[in-house]
């Protein structure tokens, strides 16, 4: 298990699986409203970032490409958050 976790891709996969389970669970218990929306977006953000950094291997890439891809994730999350915030008003 310790050896398994030495590989950043294995660590990312494990976190992604747990995070997917949490999102599924939030759906099962019918979580809704501001707290649920923020939690699910935060989980999606963390998952997306892991895919960008550890699967796409942009952690060691030139800064511009990290900024472009992580920037996309921030942009998408912010727009979704804004739309949901409008819907809650």
């Amino acid at each position: 298990m310790i050896d398994f976790l030495k590989n950043s891709a294995h660590r990312a996969w494990l976190v992604l699986m747990v995070a997917t389970g949490i999102t599924w669970y939030l759906g099962e218990v019918g979580a809704a409203g501001t707290g649920a929306i923020v939690a699910m977006l935060a989980i999606a953000f963390v998952k997306g970032r892991l895919v960008i950094l550890d699967f796409m291997e942009l952690r060691e890439a030139p800064l511009m490409w990290r900024v472009l891809l992580e920037g996309w994730l921030i942009l998408v999350s912010s727009l979704i958050l804004l739309a949901y915030w409008i819907s809650l008003k």
């Binding site: 996969w13 699986m17 977006l41 960008i52 060691e60 890439a61 996309w72």
Partner: protein, 199 residues
């Protein structure tokens, strides 16, 4: 996180910064991501105007199948990362084996999605049923097409890997295809909570 940034900048690996694969694939990925950013925002803002309807019909989606598909795509992505790692250490057999495993995960995703569509279309649901289903079908189907393209790319990579094209000497083509496959995964990671769960 200033502490982490300074560590990264002063680490000995700082001078080895490189972009995996071809530069062109990254521009292509960026264009695809921006197209999906428009679709995701369009969904979210259309929902803001019609919250009750979106919340009502979202309940009819099969969250279990959506979550299962998330597991399949993430695992498929992980296998392809392992294929790239195998190439870097020159383990030929592990390259093609992991590409095949990634491909099978993609096939699993498509199978699950077809089961899901069959249930929806069987119930008489179509693009014209209402705005929610219009978004649900068009967003997931557009993504579905990307999974198919990703699997076509993996097929090519598998044949190339079997010919011994990739290894510690050169993994550029493999890395380019892998980056596209991870993009398909990244898009689903946003699409699943947005369309299936968030309310």
């Amino acid at each position: 996180m200033p502490a982490m940034t300074s560590v990264a900048l002063t680490s000995p690996e700082a001078h080895t910064k490189r972009l995996p694969g071809d530069l062109a694939i990254w521009f292509f990925i960026l264009a695809e991501l921006l197209a999906f950013a428009v679709f995701f925002s369009a969904y979210a803002f259309a929902r803001a105007k019609n919250v009750e309807m979106f919340n009502l019909y979202q309940q009819t989606l099969d969250r279990n199948l959506g979550a299962l598909n998330t597991v399949l795509l993430i695992t498929g992505s992980w296998f392809v990362v392992l294929a790239v790692q195998a190439a870097h250490r020159g383990d030929q057999k592990a390259i093609s084996r992991n590409i095949l495993l990634g491909w099978l995960c993609g096939g699993g995703f498509l199978t699950v999605k077809i089961i899901e569509y069959a249930a929806k279309f069987g119930a008489g649901i179509s693009m014209s049923t209402n705005t929610f289903y219009m978004f649900y079908i068009s967003l997931t189907f557009f993504h579905f097409m990307h999974v198919i393209l990703g699997m076509v790319i993996l097929t090519i990579l598998w044949f190339q890997a079997r010919k011994g094209v990739y290894g510690s000497h050169d993994a550029n083509g493999l890395e380019s295809g892998a980056a596209y496959w991870h993009m398909v995964d990244l898009l689903w990671i946003v699409l699943f909570p947005l369309v299936y769960v968030m309310r």
